[in-house]
């Protein structure tokens, strides 16, 4: 009796979590297809807001900028992160454990603080605000994720395979390209998708580091909301959510969260 009660309680709990997690998103997506500007019911299906969105040059420009910044961030963070993971896997050196441990705090430190610190730092070194600063900031944020995901995959890699390749005459680069990378490729892809998601969804750091008039999509959405809410925002938010969720599901599929497939 109590077993069944506990099961029921657990299921209810899970249901509530999922409800509070997804209900606002579903309402928002729903309203982006509602003709009324003031969320009035009854619901009347319309693609009006999506059409308006297509004609909104400011939003399109910000979206394009966001995608480009995310792509550049992904490429840089994936290459640096994979190289770092391979180095951490292959070599024993002084301070290696310290370095590995220091990878985690940036994930835990609030982005508001990271963003403030970066803004101060970039002004300090004379770089100031702008797209280069945004990209550097995003790479710094994405790097730990890439290293964690790729290292998890490398943990399943048999190091004697590298020794075997070397004994057959392969230099370090050939060993990496022909033996190591094929094994960790799923981890690298998953890491790249994480990096893309971190950059594309990034608000705080982007808000602090981008120049006015040169903002990314999340920043533009925030400033638009302050001026006045339009269902166009619902429409673009729905698109972002669909794309982000697709990317994350794809990443989860590839990384299997570090486990063996």
């Amino acid at each position: 009796m109590s077993g069944r009660f506990l099961t029921l309680l657990g299921k209810t709990w899970l249901g509530l979590i999922l409800f509070f997690l997804y209900a606002p998103i579903i309402v928002m997506a729903f309203m982006s297809f509602n003709a009324s500007q003031y969320y009035q019911l009854p619901f009347e299906f319309s693609l009006k807001w999506y059409q308006d969105l297509a004609g909104n040059d400011e939003i399109i420009a910000a979206a394009t900028r966001s995608v480009l910044i995310a792509l550049v961030t992904t490429v840089i963070a994936t290459i640096l992160g994979t190289a770092a993971s391979v180095a951490l896997f292959r070599f024993e050196f002084r301070g290696k454990r310290f370095l590995q441990v220091m990878l985690f705090p940036p994930i835990a430190i609030p982005w508001l603080i990271t963003g403030t610190a970066m803004l101060i730092f970039f002004f300090g070194v004379g770089l100031g605000r702008g797209t280069p600063s945004v990209i550097i900031g995003h790479v710094a944020l994405a790097l730990p994720y890439v290293i964690v995901v790729v290292s998890a995959r490398l943990a399943t890699f048999d190091a004697t395979l590298e020794e075997a390749a070397r004994s057959l005459g392969a230099d370090a680069w050939t060993v990496t390209r022909r033996v190591t990378l094929p094994w960790i490729s799923s981890g690298v892809i998953a890491g790249a998708l994480f990096a893309f998601a971190v950059s594309f969804d990034q608000f705080v750091v982007s808000y602090f580091l981008s120049e006015p008039g040169d903002s990314t999509l999340p920043v533009l959405i925030y400033t638009s909301i302050r001026k006045g809410f339009t269902p166009e925002i619902n429409a673009i938010s729905t698109i972002i959510i669909v794309v982000s969720m697709a990317v994350m599901l794809f990443a989860a599929r590839f990384s299997n969260f570090g486990g063996e497939r």
Binding site: D158, T160, L161, E163, A164, A165, R166, S167, L168, G169, A170, D171, T174, R178, V179, P182, W183
Partner: protein, 348 residues
């Protein structure tokens, strides 16, 4: 193919002396075993020859080249790993062809030589398979073919047979020896299995705590071990005395010693060197001892007898038909030819 020479090689890992002034020659075309218990430095020595470990001192030559400062990939070696280390993402043919592709021999030559190598290990039909589709023995053959296909100067095998079950291991020993003879490549293998070392090799190097205790042909190290450790490690031994102190309370006059035996020597006899008789042997030139038969373990053609000789447990292995029919607890005589007494110099 080439000879390999290791001279006064030393390697420290922190405070641990993994290799301590090790010297051994591996003449061209021979089959050599590095034998020792775990932690003896045998694998370290093999990895130093391969180039995975750079030594702290001494010299290693492969052919006429000094290789101490040459990295693995430039040493022109073939190596087979304990777990085979086949590339899981490549087919058998691509695995075997890896070293040729790195050397850029061209697609036609690669196909031809991979085909030949797979024929040699009797896997001609398996080129398209992936490693996970093969049995343990087949994987091992692929690893061997991959290590040899580039015609390396020396073939290094790290516990090559330890992952196989016993029956397959004996088959592969014969196979390995056949292939090695066929291509005549200098081969060095590491093992902790003394029987394997005695069976396969032309010369055995015995290591203990990073030191080369003895190096020589199997028969020589078996019958003239340099120290007590080697005598015990290379097979069972019945000790008559240790460091000149008799383990037997008896008057040892009945034991005939080879001329020139020092007074501090350790004396031992291999279980298969002793014969058991009911009556005292009459030949004067035999060493002999009285003993009590405690147990007789039948094992087909051979039998093992456990005897008690003045409080010491002795083991004798003989053809079953050569052992007299006796009740357990019966009195017998052990006898052996004087030259079968192993004399181990003292202080070893």
């Amino acid at each position: 193919m080439a000879e390999v020479s290791v001279q006064n090689v030393t390697k420290h890992f922190g405070t641990l002396k993994a290799l301590n002034n090790v010297t051994m020659d591996f003449p061209d075309g021979g089959f050599f075993a590095l034998l020792g218990p775990s932690g003896s430095g045998k694998t370290t020595l093999l990895r130093a020859i391969a180039g995975f470990i750079f030594t702290d001192g001494g010299s290693i030559r492969i052919g006429d080249k000094s290789v101490e400062h040459i990295p693995v990939e430039k040493r022109d070696i073939g190596m087979m790993f304990q777990n085979y280390a086949l590339f899981p993402n490549m087919t058998v043919a691509d695995n075997v062809g890896f070293g040729l592709r790195v050397r850029k021999v061209g697609a036609d030559e690669e196909r031809r030589r991979v085909g030949e190598a797979l024929e040699l290990v009797q896997l001609g039909q398996h080129g398209d398979r992936k490693p996970h589709q093969l049995s343990g023995g087949q994987r091992q053959r692929v690893a061997l073919a991959r290590a040899m296909v580039t015609n390396p100067k020396v073939l290094l095998l790290d516990e090559p047979l330890s992952a196989l079950d016993k029956a397959l291991r004996v088959d592969m020993q014969i196979e390995l020896k056949r292939i090695q003879r066929e291509i005549g490549i200098t081969t060095i293998f590491v093992t902790h299995d003394q029987e394997e070392a005695l069976t396969l090799s032309d010369k055995i190097g015995i290591l203990k705590n990073g030191t080369m205790i003895q190096a020589g042909p199997p028969r020589e190290v078996y019958s003239n071990p340099a120290d007590v450790f080697t005598a015990e490690f290379l097979g069972e031994a019945n000790f008559l005395s240790k460091d000149g102190k008799g383990v037997l309370g008896l008057d040892a006059a009945s034991i005939k010693l080879p001329a020139g035996t020092g007074t501090n020597a350790t004396l031992a006899v291999r279980p298969e060197s002793m014969s058991i008789t009911v009556d005292e042997p009459q030949q004067d030139d035999m060493s002999k001892l009285p003993a009590t038969l405690e147990r007789r373990i039948f094992a087909g053609a051979m039998a093992t007898c456990i005897l008690n000789c003045d409080g010491q447990v002795f083991k004798v292995i003989a053809r079953d038909q050569d052992i007299p029919e006796l009740k357990e607890g019966g009195q017998v005589w052990l006898s052996w030819k004087p030259e079968k007494t192993i004399v181990v110099p003292s202080g070893g």
